[in-house]
Amino acid sequence: MAIGSSTDLDSAQTADLLELYPNGPASRRRVRLPRSPKVLIGLGGLIGFLVLAVIGPWIAPYSPAQVFSTTVSFPQPPSAAHLLGTTQQQQDVFSQLLAGGRSTILVAFVAGLIATVLSVVIGVAAGYAGGLADDLLSMLANLFLILPALPLLIVIFGFLPPSQGSDDVLIGLIIAITGWAFGARVLRAQTLSLRTRDYVDSARIIGERGWRIIGFEILPNLIPILASSFLFTVLYGVGTYTALAFLGLVNPNHVSWGGMLFYAQVAGAQQSGYWWLYIPPGMAVALLGTCLALLNFGIDEFINPRLRAAGLSRRRARRAGLTGAARPPRRFVLGVTPVVRSVPPTGDHRGPVGENLSAGRSRGGRQR
């Protein structure tokens, strides 16, 4: 075949293909992220929290530290002026809630990022190198795993000079140090499995360098675990930072959700019924954690399509025109394939057995 004519042939073939596959072959290439409600809610909520972290302090009606009255000594309940009431120090709770998100989310993401980087470096290196390096790095990871994180953090924060007690990046770094080991162990195990695969062997035989094999053959296959591990560590960061702030170990003047809980505790909010002091920050932490967990479920489903529910949600089934008997079950029982009929069965097995195919049955033109 002449090279010059190959383009014509290709375009002719493409035209043929387009005729055969009217939707176009391109639509098959798309990466299909699972679009379950779990993922949508998780992702939407997380994006909302991230936006809040950026604009929260600006859209807050007052400065979180502004004291509105020096004569009143009781927290004021929600009112038009203070949507979520005031604290014992007569600061606006709503403004604190909006402004406190930034610190909490920043610390959590910094912790997640640093811990993930640490776990990749240590886990993948241990898994890939093997031998003594693996033994030493694994021992390090095990050590950090068995260290009780919260007491250790309390000790570390006790040594922090007060000027650095409000540095979010530093706090994130310290939390990351206690949170990387779990991810490292998971990544090491998967790397151990991946490095014996044939395609890694072939890359090694070709003479690829170690860093290239790790970067181009192993790491891409770790991405789902990495993403999941990252979200898990962020979640850990949210919880740990809130706990530390609640215990008053972080500079109390640095506004955060955990800090708000600390002041609620100081004010005896629970005993005195000042619910507006602890419910808003508590709910914010819980919702952020929920969003992260939901997103993690979505990543799980993306890695393992078997987890994806084969049954349709009620809404999607209705949109697809499937109702009643034609609707697939929500749950599948292993070993009993469901029968979901959209048309009544045509065969009749109750009649006398004998002729195996009614010759006159018209099935022509039934296109599916």
Binding site: Y21, G335, R363, R366, R368
Partner: protein, 370 residues
């Protein structure tokens, strides 16, 4: 070849439709499959990878995993002539009773289906313990040994673990397990694919012997049509989830009526008869998510007509006396004479070949193919 006489229908599949997923994204993996397995028959199911052979077999037994689901048709099992069990309406309990004791399956990659941490004997007696609770431990052991002996393994291997057996032996164990409760139907999903041809032949010969002796029917799934021509009584050819031709093995081999069957048959060399050119089938199987309009085979069919691009042919019984066959092709609808290579006269009454006699030479299937 066998001494098979057409018997009573044992398993009747009509208009079976199987989807993966639901709603607009569903993949129709099997569409309108009609199939009858008679008592004592070996029915071969042939087709390329992804043509829906295994899906069909697992749907019949309701073993298909999520997101697979049956969306239409019926499957009737006749344990005795006159009685019918509707497998699609059967409850979990009914299926539990029927499976293995009436219908058993030798799974694909059967070699890996054995539990590596249990001995062969434990796995064989496990079946008996579940389905034949009246047997004592010694009796179960004896029966397990008997089963192993049946497939040509000595009974002292009962204590062996799967890794101590060769691939062929593991395959035999799987077949022995499938036969443990003397089922009437054995569904074999590519049971010999991973084995070399010599072992494959040994196992198949044993299987055919066992069938003579025990009288079970076999639904044999394979992509190896040459193998089916040899062991099956009748053959159904699948393409893209549809049955395109169904005929007696001999008739299909000598006189295929569907261009796809013809293509499959001219894809492997005959050991006897005149030399012929191997042509194969151009192109590759279609994506089930985006099937071409009309006859699904038309993009690869050298006989495709205008009608094939728009209308879907149904599986129609051909009105030829003594020739039990159905084909889904517009060439065979009687409006025009089909091309000569698709109209080779079928052997109406195939004479039972004497043992050891060389098979009759294959007709020159591909002589006039473009």
């Amino acid at each position: 070849m066998s001494t098979y006489q057409p018997g009573q229908p044992l398993l009747e599949v009509r208009g079976l439709c199987v989807d993966y997923g639901a709603g607009p994204d569903a993949v129709h993996a099997v569409v309108d499959a009609d199939l009858v397995l008679h008592r004592g028959e070996v029915l071969g199911l042939a087709g390329e990878s992804g043509s829906g052979k295994s899906t069909l077999a697992y749907a019949i037994t309701r073993l298909l995993r999520a997101p697979g689901m049956i969306t239409g048709g019926s499957v009737g099992y006749h344990p005795k002539p006159g009685t019918t069990v509707d497998l699609l309406a059967a409850s979990e309990g009914t299926l539990r009773v029927l499976r293995w004791s009436q219908i058993s399956v030798v799974m694909q990659s059967a070699m890996n289906a054995l539990n590596p941490v249990l001995s062969i004997g434990a796995q064989l007696t496990d079946v008996l313990q579940a389905h034949r609770p009246d047997l004592g431990q010694a009796e179960r052991r004896a029966r397990a040994g008997e089963l192993l002996a049946m497939v040509g393994i000595t009974a002292d291997r009962l204590g062996s673990y799967p890794h101590e057996l060769s691939g062929g032996m593991r395959q035999r164990v799987m077949i022995a397990m499938a036969l443990a409760l003397e089922p009437q139907v054995v569904i074999m999903d590519e049971p010999t694919t991973a084995l070399d041809v010599v072992t494959q032949r040994e196992i198949l010969e044993e299987l055919m012997e066992l069938r003579e002796r025990l009288g079970f029917a076999v639904l044999f799934i394979t992509h190896d049509l040459s193998l089916l021509v040899e062991i099956a009584d009748s053959i159904a050819v699948m393409y893209a989830g549809r049955l395109v031709e169904r005929a007696d093995a001999d008739a299909l081999f000598r006189a295929p009526r569907h261009p796809y069957s013809l293509g499959l048959l001219s894809s492997f060399p005959g050991l006897h008869g005149p030399r012929r050119r191997l042509t194969g089938i151009p192109g590759s199987p279609p994506d089930l998510r985006q099937l071409p309009a009309g006859c699904v085979f038309h993009p690869r069919c050298s006989y495709a007509m205008d009608r094939c691009r728009t209308d879907t042919p149904a599986l129609q019984r051909l009105d030829v006396k003594g020739d039990e066959r159905a084909v889904a092709c517009w060439l065979q609808d009687g409006s025009a004479a089909p091309p000569p290579e698709l109209a080779v006269p079928a052997p109406h009454e195939p004479p039972p070949p004497a043992p050891g006699a060389p098979p009759a030479p294959a007709p020159d299937l591909a002589r006039s193919q473009p």
